[in-house]
């Protein structure tokens, strides 16, 4: 089987840096520097794109020791995150019919999917999931 074409490992650090820098800056702008004049929609757009881009860099870059086991964990985590994305979309749509205020944005779906991917990938990679669950 041909290995997946992924970014070099250093992109993981870049992605991590983007996320580390963006998340506190949103918090600072939202709660501490509230009085400053800035466009909240533009800030929201920039921060959401940056976070998703940061997550994507972490997800699509190689581990230090990229081998077939890591690839196996990666593909399983992708599959599970994909299923979670579909299920959460269906649930959201059903709840949206009942209560129109509960509609999620695409960013929230992607954010949740990425977090779920990280959780599954690191659990599988570090052998924290029992044999039966796999």
């Amino acid at each position: 089987m041909k290995p997946l074409k992924l970014l070099p490992n250093r992109f993981k650090l870049i992605g991590l840096l983007i996320c580390i820098l963006i998340i506190p800056s949103i918090f600072l702008l939202e709660y501490i520097f509230r009085d400053l004049k800035y466009n909240p929609e533009l800030l929201k757009l920039i921060s959401s794109i940056s976070i998703i881009a940061g997550f994507a860099l972490i997800i699509f870059s190689k581990e230090k020791n990229e081998d077939e086991f890591i690839e196996h964990c990666r593909l399983r985590a992708f599959a599970r995150a994909f299923i979670v994305g579909i299920v959460s979309y269906i649930i959201n749509e059903i709840f949206h019919i009942i209560d129109t205020d509960t509609n999620k944005t695409i960013f929230q779906f992607l954010f949740n999917q990425c977090l779920f991917y990280f959780a599954v990938f690191y659990l599988l990679k570090n052998n924290l999931v029992s044999k039966n669950e796999k």
Binding site: N65, D67, E68, F69, I70, H72, K125, N127, K131
Partner: protein, 68 residues
């Protein structure tokens, strides 16, 4: 699937790290294989068998549940 990777590795006086280096994978992979969490590809199975001087069938054995 039952596997005897751990027993045969210990018989050959190899650590998980040494075996991992010889077959060019991470130690995590060897741990997962030994625990039975991960079934390696044919290529990696043959590499491990080659390093441990056994056949692939000696390393892995089909279980009754594998036929279900």
């Amino acid at each position: 699937m039952k596997n005897k990777v751990k027993e045969i590795r210990e018989f050959n006086s190899l650590t998980q790290e040494q075996l991992a280096q010889k077959v060019n994978v991470s130690r995590q992979s060897i741990i997962s294989i030994e625990k039975g969490h991960y079934i390696p590809t044919t290529l990696l199975t043959l590499k491990i068998a080659n390093v441990l001087n056994v056949t692939a069938e000696e390393l892995f054995k089909l279980d009754n549940t594998d036929w279900q």
